[in-house]
Symmetry: C2
Subunit: 92 residues, 2 copies
């Protein structure tokens, strides 16, 4: 499995779009899916993980939650820092 195949980046679409993406990865046979998000969208990534685990993939567990700070280039070229989260879900 390549590193990026099983990553779902959470953005501004509604929560269920990303839930579907994660569920699809599991249904395709992936044993591990990483849910990533930055900034204010972090809470949506947590929602996605919890909804997948509690409603759709009952044997999925949270293997790891990593928080970090990323540097982003703004439009004017300056750098700004933003918090990020990486939630790893696994199933047996």
């Amino acid at each position: 499995m390549m590193a990026n195949e099983n990553v779902v980046f959470v953005g501004k679409k509604n929560v269920m779009s990303y839930v579907l993406a994660v569920v699809t990865q599991f249904n395709n046979g992936n044993k591990e899916v990483v849910i990533k998000a930055r900034g204010k969208i972090i809470s949506r990534a947590v929602d996605v993980a919890e909804i997948v685990k509690n409603r759709f993939v009952s044997d999925a567990k949270v293997k790891d939650v990593h928080i970090l700070t990323e540097e982003l280039a703004s439009e004017d070229g300056s750098m700004s820092k933003v918090s990020a989260i990486e939630i790893t879900l696994t199933r047996p």
Copy 2:
């Protein structure tokens, strides 16, 4: 140390209020501080943890990040589910 003594609940105040609360707990000799938040404020809790660690308490590390679903009673008595996060910071 009692279970609740070293908990900082993140709410709607600005990020630095909670950063100060966490730093104060460490300065008072606590080796472990738990930062909790619910719903959309989860991203602010991650900001608090990252700012404490990167700018104020350089030997602090993230020991654990736990995500969960909590049930809240609404004003009309109905229950609703909300995602939550608990970030445990430790220092040596």
